[in-house]
Each structure stands twice: as structure tokens, then as C-alpha cells.
């Protein structure tokens, strides 16, 4: 039993995570739906009434209720992980990453996220707030422009060997590499 409870509180290995994520994709297919998380952003706009003025949001958003329920579950899953299943060890990233980030002014991980951006104190400072807002803006805009995010393209689309998804994933990485290697040294 001690080993079992240790398994649940320590961090989980990549292969287990990959296995469960693909299982979720199949589960949703067997439930008659498909795995794509960023569609929820469009549904939220539609539910808030954006369809009255913008045609793109004028669709039967109630048919997407299952995905909003899935989103609600994801928040609850996060809550369970942050409470009963929590371990107090910081995220175990490589030394090389810690060094690179130290050069940019980030301290060693104390939890999942860097304090410099995500502690409430930092997040409502002008610089961090702008960066978090900009990051969110680009994710929301880019995922809809590309027709999907990591779940819709990298997992669902690649599993179906769709060329558009491969192009989108190449785009995800191109953007991520530009941000990390070219823009981070300017921003931080």
C-alpha cells in the first residue's frame, strides 16, 4: 500500500502519460466525439453571444456541451492533482534547462511554474501581465487559425496521418523555437 500511494503522489513517467492520453482520445471517439481542446475557446465565445455579430461564432454551440463538461473535468483533475495527489518536489527538469533559464533570470523551480511569471504578485505586475496576456492571445488566435491545438492536431490529427496536422505541428515547433531561442533573450 505504501508503494501504491507513492506511485500516486510522485510524478508519473512519460510512457504512462502517453498511454493515458491516447486512451482518452479513443474513449472520446467511442463516445462519438473527437479529442480537440481548443474548440472550447470558440464555444465559449459563442455561448457569450459573439454569434450575434460575428458569423464564425454563429453555430449550435450547445452541441459542444460535452467538450465544456470535459474542460470542467480537466479543472477538477488539476485540483485533485494539486491537493490529494500533490508531491512537494519541484518539477524535475534537466540541469541544462535550469542553467539556460538562470541566465534569463529565472530561479530554480519551486513547483510547476516559474514564480517570476505566475506567482500572483508577479502576474499582476505590468511586464508579467502583458506577457501572460500575449501568450494567451497567441494561443487562442493561432489555434483557431490553424484549426486545432496540440490535442486536435498533434494527437488526433497525426494519429489519423493527416498532412495538414503535420504541417500545423511543424508550425507549432517553428513558433516555439523562435520564441524560445530568438525572442526570450530579448524579452527576459
Amino acid at each position: 500500500m505504501i508503494q501504491m500511494s507513492e506511485f500516486f503522489t510522485q510524478s508519473w513517467p512519460w510512457w504512462f502519460s502517453g498511454l493515458i492520453i491516447s486512451s482518452i482520445m479513443f474513449l472520446l471517439l467511442f463516445f462519438g466525439q473527437s479529442f480537440g481542446f481548443s474548440s472550447n475557446l470558440r464555444t465559449i465565445c459563442a455561448a457569450a453571444g459573439a454569434g450575434k455579430t460575428v458569423g464564425f461564432f454563429n453555430f449550435n454551440w450547445k452541441s459542444q456541451m460535452w467538450n465544456i463538461v470535459f474542460l470542467t473535468g480537466a479543472i477538477m483533475g488539476g485540483f485533485i492533482s494539486g491537493t490529494v495527489l500533490k508531491n512537494d518536489n519541484p518539477v524535475e527538469i534537466s540541469e541544462a534547462t535550469k542553467q539556460d533559464l538562470a541566465e534569463l533570470g529565472f530561479s530554480e523551480p519551486k513547483g510547476m511554474q516559474p514564480e517570476e511569471l505566475f506567482s500572483l504578485e508577479s502576474a499582476f505586475g505590468l511586464k508579467s501581465f502583458i506577457l501572460l496576456a500575449l501568450g494567451g492571445l497567441m494561443v487562442g488566435f493561432g489555434s483557431r487559425y490553424a484549426g486545432g491545438c496540440t490535442s486536435g492536431h498533434a494527437i488526433s490529427g497525426l494519429s489519423d496521418l493527416q498532412w495538414p496536422s503535420l504541417i500545423a505541428v511543424i508550425g507549432f515547433f517553428a513558433g516555439g523555437l523562435i520564441m524560445t531561442h530568438l525572442l526570450f533573450p530579448i524579452i527576459f
Binding site: F8, W12, P13, W14, W15, F16, G18, I21, S22, I24, M25, L27, L29, F30, S38, L41, A50, V54, N67, F70, G73, A74, I75, M76, G77, G78, I80, S81, G82, E92, I93, P114, L117, F118, L120, L132, G136, L137, V139, G140, F141, G142, S143, R144, Y145, A146, G147, C149, S159, D160, I167, A168, G171, F172, G175, G176, L177, M179, T180, H181
Partner: protein, 137 residues
């Protein structure tokens, strides 16, 4: 309740994303710096198993729980929208350290500042809806 199964699927998704540290900004940085296999392992295993499973679903013409055939819709043919849209997404992913799923998992985990990121992701999607007719697709 027909929807309860989606709630349970979402809970499992949230737990596994958090417990495997895929919701961590640090892990995304490590990935874009090619300094660990962790994130590649997660996505790689999911895709390899996904390819095998989707192949089997098509080969055996499997049906969903309502008895309808499971169908896969080909995405629109284009290069520009996937490349530009994808790159904008990727820049936001690296900056905020989270794609849409992990954003909400983080909120549940206790990182309330992710509400800012998620709220602006909704705004970003709205902006796309407003100007989409002026963008190359």
C-alpha cells in the same frame, strides 16, 4: 446523465497532465531546448498508439457506443493557415508554457494566474473570428 462520462474523461485527462508535469512551463522550455526526452516521450507514445488504434478502428470498421460508425474527417487542404496559425500558436505555447488543455488544468491545480492566460486565449479566438475573412487560408 449522458454527460457524466465526459466529466470523468476530463478528470483523468487533468490528473495525468498534471502528474506527468506536462502542464509545467519548465517542461515546455526543456522541450523547446531539446534538453530532455520527457515531453517527446509523452507526445510520441500517444501518437504511436494513436496511429495503431486509428488504423484498427478503420480496418475493423468499429462503431461508437450509439452504434454509429467512427468516422475521421479529413482536414481542409492548405499550407499557409497551418504554418502561420501553427507558428503563432507555438510562440504563445512557449511564452505561456501551456496550450489550452494545460491552462485549465493549471487553474484547478492552484495557479490562478493562468486565468489571465486562458481569458486572453478566448479573446484571441474571438479576434480570429472577427478578422478571419481577411486572412489567407
Amino acid at each position: 446523465m449522458k454527460l457524466i462520462k465526459f466529466l470523468i474523461a476530463g478528470i483523468i485527462f487533468g490528473i495525468v497532465m498534471a502528474k506527468s508535469e506536462a502542464i509545467s512551463w519548465f517542461r515546455i522550455q526543456e522541450m523547446f531546448r531539446f534538453q530532455a526526452f520527457h515531453m517527446y516521450g509523452i507526445i510520441g507514445v500517444a501518437v504511436v498508439l494513436g496511429v495503431i488504434g486509428v488504423y484498427l478502428i478503420k480496418k475493423f470498421k468499429l462503431r461508437d457506443i450509439s452504434g454509429n460508425p467512427i468516422v475521421f474527417y479529413p482536414k481542409d487542404k492548405s499550407i499557409i493557415r497551418y504554418l502561420i496559425g501553427g507558428s503563432i500558436f507555438g510562440m504563445g505555447w512557449a511564452l505561456s508554457g501551456a496550450c489550452p488543455g494545460p491552462m485549465v488544468v493549471n487553474i484547478g491545480y492552484g495557479y490562478l494566474s493562468m486565468v489571465i492566460v486562458f481569458a486572453f486565449a478566448v479573446v484571441g479566438t474571438y479576434l480570429y473570428g472577427v478578422i478571419r475573412n481577411h486572412l489567407p487560408h
